[in-house]
C-alpha cells in the first residue's frame, strides 16, 4: 500500500501566525472587510431581489438615522445593548463564560416591576426609585452569584449553569406576568402606574431616553477605568490569563470569581431596571429581547475593551435597524435583512482571522518538487 517513493508534500496554502501588526494595518484590514461585505451583499441583493444595492443601503441608513425619533431610538438601543455588553465583559475577561446575561437582565427587570406594582403607591417617588435601583441590582447580582459560587467551590460548568438560569428567569417572568396581568387573566401587564408614574425614571428635558443614555455612558467610562486601572481589574486579567499565575502571586481565585460575577450580574440587573423603569414601564418575557446573547458578540468584537464596545454595539444596532427598514420598505421578508446582517458580521469577524494569521502560498521551487 505505501510505496517507498512516497514523499511528503508541502501544502499549497498554509497559515502562519503573525506577530503583532501595527494598529493602522489592523484597521485597514477591518475597513477592507466592511467594504468587501458591502460589495458581496450588493451582489447577493441583485441576484436575489434585482434591486439596486445602493438604494438598499440608502434605505438602511434611513432606517437608522431617518428621523429624530429614529436617531433617539437607535441611541437608546445602543445604550441598553452596550450596558449589557459592559456587564458581561469583566466575567469574560476572567474567562468565565457568563451566557446568563439574558436572565440576569430579566430578573432585574422583574424586581423593578415588583417594586412598581407592590410599592407604587406606598412610598414617595425618590424613596421608591432608590428601592427599585437597589432591588434590581441585587436581583441581577444574585442571579449571577449562584453559578459563581458553584464554579468557585465545585468547579461546575458555568456555561450550562448560567444558561439554565436564563430559563428560570424567563419562567418566573411569565408567571408573574400572569399573576399581575391587567385586566386579570389577559396575560399582559400593560403600562404600570400609567396615571401616577410611580417608579418611572425621571425624564431629562423632554427626551425620554436621555437619562438611560447618560447612565450607560457613565458605566462605560467607569468600566474602562475599573478594568484598566484598578487593582481588582488587574486581578481579573491575571485570573483570566492564567489561574496558576494567580495562585502563584497569592490571588484568592475563588474570591475574584465571585466578586467579578457579582459586578457582572449587578450591571445586568441595572440594565433590566433601565428597560422596565426607564423606558418600557412594563415587562414581558421578551423584554431582554436576546440582547443578553448579542452582548456576548459585542463584547468579543471589541476585544473586551469598553471604549471599542461603543462602536461595536453601535454597529450591531445600526445593522438591525437598517435591516428591518429594508424589509418593510421593499416588502421583502425578514430573512433577507438577516442575510445582509449575517454577511456583514461574518466579514467583520472573519477579518480578525486575517489580522492574526498570514497566508503563505507554497513557493515554487526551481527544479520542480520539494526535494
Amino acid at each position: 500500500m505505501s510505496k517507498p517513493e512516497k514523499k511528503m508534500h508541502e501544502p499549497l496554502i498554509h497559515l502562519v501566525k503573525r506577530d503583532a501588526i501595527p494598529w493602522y494595518q489592523a484597521w485597514a484590514v477591518r475597513i477592507i472587510a466592511v467594504l468587501a461585505a458591502l460589495i458581496f451583499s450588493g451582489i447577493i441583493t441583485i441576484i436575489l431581489t434585482g434591486l439596486n444595492p445602493l438604494e438598499v443601503y440608502q434605505k438602511m441608513f434611513e432606517g437608522a438615522f431617518g428621523t429624530d425619533r429614529r436617531i433617539w431610538n437607535l441611541f437608546q438601543n445602543v445604550a441598553i445593548l452596550l450596558c449589557i455588553s459592559l456587564a458581561v465583559t469583566p466575567a469574560f475577561k476572567m474567562r468565565f463564560w457568563n451566557i446568563g446575561a439574558e436572565g440576569q437582565v430579566l430578573i432585574g427587570g422583574l424586581a423593578s416591576t415588583a417594586c412598581m406594582i407592590l410599592l407604587g403607591n406606598k412610598l414617595s417617588q425618590p424613596v421608591l426609585l432608590l428601592v427599585i435601583v437597589v432591588t434590581s441590582i441585587a436581583a441581577g447580582a444574585v442571579w449571577a452569584l449562584l453559578p459563581a459560587i458553584f464554579k468557585a467551590y465545585w468547579n461546575t460548568n458555568e456555561t450550562l449553569f448560567t444558561l439554565m438560569m436564563n430559563y428560570i428567569a424567563i419562567q418566573l417572568v411569565s408567571y408573574f406576568v400572569f399573576v399581575w396581568s391587567v385586566p386579570k387573566g389577559s396575560g399582559k401587564i400593560g403600562i404600570i402606574n400609567g396615571d401616577t408614574q410611580a417608579g418611572w425614571l425621571p425624564v431629562l428635558g423632554d427626551q425620554k431616553y436621555l437619562l438611560n443614555i447618560l447612565i450607560v455612558l457613565v458605566i462605560t467610562i467607569a468600566m474602562y477605568v475599573y478594568l484598566r486601572f484598578s487593582k481588582q481589574g488587574y486581578e481579573i486579567s491575571v485570573v483570566g490569563e492564567s489561574e496558576n499565575t494567580a495562585r502563584y502571586i497569592g490571588i484568592n481565585v475563588k474570591k475574584v470569581v465571585i466578586r467579578t460575577m457579582l459586578i457582572s450580574g449587578a450591571i445586568c440587573g441595572l440594565a433590566g431596571m433601565l428597560l422596565v423603569s426607564g423606558t418600557d414601564h412594563s415587562i414581558t418575557r421578551d423584554t431582554a429581547g436576546g440582547r443578553g446573547f448579542t452582548a456576548i458578540m459585542v463584547s468579543w468584537l471589541a476585544k473586551f475593551n469598553p471604549l471599542y464596545m461603543v462602536l461595536t454595539a453601535f454597529l450591531i444596532v445600526f445593522l438591525e435597524k437598517g435591516a428591518s427598514e429594508i424589509s418593510t420598505a421593499f416588502r421583502l421578508n425578514d430573512s433577507f435583512s438577516e442575510i445582509i446582517t449575517g454577511i456583514i458580521i461574518f466579514f467583520i469577524i472573519g477579518s480578525e482571522f486575517f489580522i492574526n494569521y498570514a497566508i503563505r502560498f507554497r513557493k515554487i521551487r526551481k527544479g520542480g518538487k520539494a526535494q
Partner: protein, 522 residues
C-alpha cells in the same frame, strides 16, 4: 532467531527548528529480544520512537524491517509493518469498554463476541488480567496500560515499543508487566522499552542503547554491563564550564524542611518524607529525573501545594523568630515577613502572564501596594526599565507582551523581578532550560550574586555539569524521596547519576545489590 534484525535504524537524524533531537542514531532489535533505550530527559528517546511509529518523519537516515528498507510516513504505515507503540499518555476513550477501545479504528466489521473472544485469547496467552467488558473510566492506570498493550497485539503487532511504561506503575504492577513482556519476548516478539530506571534496564532487557542529548552513544549487552558503566554512558564525561563558586560566608540555617509528605489528587505519594536544610549564603542544588517531585517540593514551600505531614520552618534573620510555613497561603507567608522568591519551571504559565507587557508582569508581585483601589504603574515601569538595562533584555519596549520575547529574555524578566524583591530565600526551577550559553551565564551570575548577599538559594537543575560547578551542596531526589545529599565540590556525575536512578523502595530482583547507599553527606 531470524537472520535479519526485526527492525534496524541507520543514521537517523531529526531536527525541530534549531534543536537537534536525534543525530545519526543507529540501532537494531532482533526478534525474541528486549532492547532498552536509556537516556536522561530530553535525550531524544521519545522522538526516536515516534519516528518508528510513524508520528514523526526522519530528516535523514533509513529504517529497515526484516532487512528491507521501508518508509514509515504515518501510524497506518507503522501498522502495516506490525509496529505497535504504547504511549506514555494513554489514548483511550473513557466511556468505552476495553474491547470497544481495542477494536476502535479497525476497518473490519465489529462483532462483540468475536472481538471479546480474541481479547481473551491474547490475555490468556501472555498472562494479562483484564475484563474485556469493563469501562475505561472504571480502570486503574495499570489496567488501562494493559488495554493499550492488548490493542497493539490485537492488531498483530510483533514489534512493540513502550514509552516509559513503568513511570505510572507501582512496583508490584511493574513486576507483572515485566513478566508479560518476558513472555512476549519468548514468543518471538521484538520489544523496545524506553526508561531511565537503571535497575529495570538490568533486570529486563537483553541489550541497552544509550542516548545523550540526541546523540547515539552506543549499544551494550545487558549481561556485560553494570549500573556504573551505564550511568557513565548516560551522563557522559565531565565538561568544565568555569562557573565561579565562592565559599559560603557564615552560612546559617534559613529554611528547614522536616519530613514533609504530599499526595496528589489520585492519592499517590509525590513527596515521601522529605527533609533538608537550606542555608544562607549557599546554593543548594536539587538533582533528579524530571517528575520526581521537584516541582511539588518547591510549590509546597511556596504555599501552593497541600502538605499532608511534616513542617517547613523558616528562621527569620531579622526577628530571629522561627515560623512554620506549612498550610499557609502565599499571602500569609509574605505577611510573616518571609521574603521568599520563586522562579517556577513554567515561566509563562505561572511566573509570568504571557499576554501582559513587561510593566504589568513586574506588577504581579507588587500590585497590592498603595492605599487606593487603583494601580500604581510608575514604580513597576521604573523597575522594568532597570531590569531591561541591567540584564540586557532584548525587547522593543516595556509595553511588549512577554510572550513575544525570546526564552532567554523571558527568563531574565522573571528572575529580575524575583531578585528585585530582595529575597532571603530564592528558589529557581530549571532556570536555564532552553537558554543559550550567554543567557545561562547571566543567570548563574545572578544566582551567585544572591548567594554572596546571604540569600539561601535553591536551584533545581537538570544539567549535572552545571549542578556540580555551581552548587555548594546537591540534594538528589528520586520518586519523591531524598536519595542522598552530596558536596558539590567533591561529587562526581556518576555518583549523582546513580542516586538519581536509585529507588528507595527497591524490590526489583537483581536491582538492589547494584546500588550503593548514598551516605556521603556534605
Amino acid at each position: 532467531m531470524a537472520a535479519n534484525a526485526a527492525i534496524e535504524l541507520k543514521n537517523i537524524t531529526k531536527t525541530f527548528g534549531h534543536v537537534c533531537a536525534n543525530h545519526n542514531v543507529s540501532l537494531k532489535v532482533n526478534r525474541g529480544e528486549i532492547l532498552s533505550i536509556l537516556g536522561e530527559n530530553g535525550s531524544g528517546k521519545t522522538t526516536l520512537m515516534n519516528m518508528i511509529a510513524g508520528i514523526y518523519f526522519p530528516d535523514s537516515g533509513s529504517i529497515f524491517i526484516d532487512g528491507k528498507e521501508v518508509v514509515i510516513a504515518s501510524p497506518k504505515d507503522a501498522f502495516q509493518y506490525k509496529i505497535g507503540m504504547i504511549h506514555q499518555h494513554f489514548k483511550l476513550v473513557d466511556v468505552f469498554t476495553a474491547t470497544e477501545n481495542i477494536v476502535l479504528g479497525l476497518e473490519e466489521k465489529y462483532d462483540v463476541k468475536n472481538a471479546s473472544a480474541k481479547v481473551k485469547e491474547i490475555s490468556e496467552k501472555y498472562g494479562f488480567e483484564i475484563d474485556p467488558d469493563k469501562k475505561i473510566y472504571e480502570m486503574s492506570v495499570s489496567e488501562k496500560q494493559t488495554v493499550e498493550i492488548i490493542k497493539v497485539l490485537y492488531r498483530g503487532a510483533d514489534i512493540l515499543i513502550l514509552d516509559e511504561p513503568t513511570a505510572v506503575l507501582t512496583p508490584q504492577e511493574t513486576q507483572k508487566l515485566f513478566a508479560v513482556l518476558r513472555r512476549m519476548r519468548d514468543d518471538g516478539k521484538a520489544i523496545i522499552i524506553i526508561t531511565h530506571k537503571l535497575h529495570e534496564v538490568l533486570s529486563l532487557s537483553d541489550q541497552v542503547a544509550v542516548l545523550r542529548k540526541g546523540e547515539y552513544i552506543g549499544t551494550v549487552k545487558t549481561a556485560e554491563t553494570n549500573e556504573t558503566l551505564l550511568t557513565e554512558m548516560m551522563v557522559g564525561k565531565k565538561i568544565s564550564l568555569n562557573i565561579t563558586r565562592d565559599e559560603p560566608k557564615h552560612p546559617e540555617d534559613r529554611l528547614v524542611v522536616e519530613d514533609i509528605t504530599c499526595m496528589n489528587r489520585d492519592g499517590a505519594t509525590i513527596l515521601d518524607h522529605v527533609s533538608f536544610t537550606a542555608r544562607s549564603g549557599e546554593i543548594l542544588g536539587i538533582a533528579g529525573i524530571a517528575g520526581s517531585g521537584q516541582r511539588e517540593l518547591l510549590e509546597a514551600i511556596a504555599g501552593l501545594q497541600h502538605i499532608d505531614s511534616g513542617s517547613i520552618l523558616y528562621h527569620n534573620p531579622k526577628t530571629k523568630q522561627t515560623d512554620n510555613l506549612r498550610d499557609k497561603t502565599p499571602l500569609q507567608i509574605r505577611a510573616l515577613g518571609v521574603r521568599l522568591s520563586f522562579v517556577p519551571e513554567d515561566r509563562l504559565g505561572m511566573g509570568l502572564v504571557g499576554n501582559m507587557d513587561i510593566v504589568d508582569n513586574m506588577m504581579l508581585r507588587s500590585y497590592r501596594r498603595g492605599k487606593t483601589m487603583f494601580l500604581q504603574r510608575k514604580p513597576p515601569k521604573d523597575l522594568a526599565e532597570t531590569i531591561i538595562r541591567q540584564l540586557e533584555v532584548v525587547t522593543p519596549s516595556v509595553s511588549t507582551p512577554v510572550r513575544r520575547l525570546s526564552g532567554g529574555n523571558v527568563q531574565k524578566v522573571l528572575v529580575g523581578r524575583e531578585i528585585a524583591a530582595v529575597p532571603t530565600v530564592l528558589m529557581a526551577a530549571y532556570p536555564v532550560r532552553g537558554l543559550d550559553i550567554n543567557s545561562s551565564y547571566t543567570i548563574y551570575n545572578l544566582l551567585n550574586e544572591q548567594k554572596k548577599n546571604g540569600v539561601a538559594v535553591i536551584f533545581v537543575g537538570e544539567d549535572l555539569d552545571v549542578l556540580i560547578e555551581l552548587c555548594d551542596r546537591i540534594m538528589v531526589i528520586g520518586s519523591g524521596c531524598v536519595t542522598g545529599v552530596v558536596d558539590g565540590r567533591t561529587a562526581t556525575k556518576e555518583e549523582i547519576g546513580l542516586l538519581m536512578t536509585k529507588s528507595v523502595h527497591e524490590d526489583m530482583e537483581g536491582g538492589a545489590d547494584h546500588v550503593k547507599t548514598g551516605e556521603k553527606n556534605a
